[in-house]
Symmetry: C2
Subunit: 333 residues, 2 copies
């Protein structure tokens, strides 16, 4: 039996940084994101007794049980799936991104969202959006937000078992079709410090971390209001500040985590300068050197042109609010 699913990446407007529970992947704070239209993971799962162990192929590269990159991510996730279903059948997973992997473009978000949808069917476990979001969260926190379309909020939750820590839609893509995100790729190298290790280091050693947790709810309220009222200035200024506040916690971590590269700085300062001149856009940056520029449709062409001409910029992807995770008939093998 073969099942294929596609899930799109999402870009956080209020960031997730830090787990209060590593087993259940429960965050210290809620977050809000936009599921994007043009960056996705396509995953095919084959559920067959002929396999004696799980097989995983990500972007053409095989990963096996026993290898750290397998065990800590897909391996741990499949353990959860088998606990839930009681089914020990081995599977083959083939997954492919249409954008660079592990460089701060939320590849684990789209990856685990697509995998969650595919395995839920393969293991005969039909789940609604909320339950899928909770399952995806067990693979990667931010994956919980890639199940839904458009603008999405992942609730922190209070319960120990994580049953109230799920994502749900704030507004569908049609609510704000003029919203644009321009992903500015400044490096295709895999990042040195993975998000998971980075956030654990920050929680453990950054003196500012408790204040981050304390102030995120203010940003969540502002972004939720901004999305509902389509107030771009409110969404942009809040998202930019929230991103800088998160990077400040990383920078003040010991040892320091600095995801920015020279081109990241070039883009940041250009955005600020252009804004001073009246071209309104804001930036947000995840755990990597890429910059995601937020703007309205009317300015996206001019911004894409200018951003593409900056020193150190490799590639530009212009995208908009996009669909949630869904099945597809196109199988990868």
């Amino acid at each position: 039996m073969k099942v294929s699913a596609i899930a799109n990446s999402n870009i956080a407007l209020v960031k997730y940084w830090g787990k209060r529970d590593k087993e259940f992947m429960l965050p210290f704070n809620g977050s809000i994101s936009m599921t994007v239209n043009d960056m996705f993971t396509h995953t095919t799962v084959e559920f067959d007794k002929k396999y004696t162990e799980d097989i995983l192929i990500v972007n053409g590269k095989g990963l096996k049980p026993g290898e750290e990159d397998y065990d800590e991510y897909v391996g741990a996730f499949m353990k959860v799936v088998r606990q839930l279903t009681g089914n020990q059948t081995k599977i083959k997973i083939v997954s492919k991104n249409n954008y660079p992997t592990a460089a701060g473009l939320a590849s684990s978000a789209s990856g685990f969202a697509a995998l969650s949808l595919a395995v839920s069917k393969a293991f005969g476990m039909p789940l609604n959006e909320k339950a899928l979001s909770i399952l995806a969260r067990r693979g990667s926190g931010s994956a919980s937000r890639s199940i839904s379309a458009g603008f999405v909020e992942w609730h922190r939750g209070e319960k120990k078992d994580g049953s109230d820590s799920f994502a749900e839609q704030i507004a569908p893509p049609e609510h704000w079709p003029e919203f644009r995100m321009i992903a500015v790729i400044t490096s295709k190298k895999e990042k040195k410090v993975k998000s998971r290790a980075g956030m654990a280091q920050t929680v453990a050693t950054c003196p500012f971390y408790p204040k981050w947790v304390e102030t995120v709810p203010i940003d969540l309220d502002a972004i939720r209001k901004g999305i509902k009222e389509k107030n771009f200035t409110l969404v942009g200024t809040t998202a930019e500040h929230n991103c800088l506040k998160m990077h400040a916690t990383m920078i003040a971590t010991r040892p320091a985590i600095i995801y920015w590269n020279p081109a990241t700085m070039e883009v940041i300062h250009s955005i600020m300068d252009w804004r001073d001149e009246g071209l309104e856009s804001y930036f947000t940056i995840d755990a990597g050197p890429q910059v995601k520029v937020l703007c309205m449709e009317k300015d996206s062409k001019e911004l894409a042109k200018r951003l593409g001409a900056l020193k150190g910029v490799d590639e530009i992807i212009v995208t908009r609010p996009g669909p949630g995770a869904r099945f597809t008939d196109e199988h990868l093998f």
Copy 2:
């Protein structure tokens, strides 16, 4: 009557960021610096009844009473001097730096230290090192540290009138002659946000600022110990963390203050990479894009060569612990 004085710049190993009192220039936290050997300000003061208003020439550029750049800095300082001495005689000040001004190389530190020494004599007010440090502080906080030679601590103090907020020597230059600082100039443009405005903005809006104030004493203890024991690793790791923690408070300020440019990032990441390979050095950065690299004499040649070859690096100045403020017979006019 003409008096000339020279004072050297200093580079903070534990930074000063934020005032608890703007009139008396009292800091929220203590700081530790090294007075450097090769970057200084030379100032000549002429005290003469022929002047009907103060004349100031900094690096060949005239500034007059009524201009913001005069009134808020030298103008405010001269008001303090006249209150203390009761002498209203006007003066001519000619000041020159042997390094780029106002781009995060502590030009106000060496400038106000040299001016304090020169005016103390011109106004017939002989002051000891502690009193000079207190006077220099009224011009610019960090100037209090440029009065003394070598490694210097500026005590926060507790009193309202600032009489216990002064700098004093921890160790003379001879204590650690192998210590080197390499100033890496990445931009000679004057910075957009001056330190004074930047720190006021951070104190007012950064949610992390109180934690900065709370944690600085830990860094002060470590650096003081490191200097006394000549433990370079302890001094370097603490100074680098302290600098990043300060920049984190700037980055999380609203509106954000980002002093780093692309070359700053190039230097930061290179230092970290070279350190991983065994070449031990650390960086510190003030309110500007320049990077100051800390190392031992044995590695300074290799580091200067590598740093000079990095993209975006304009100039390299290698220096060591240097002398305090002193008089000179060479007048500027």
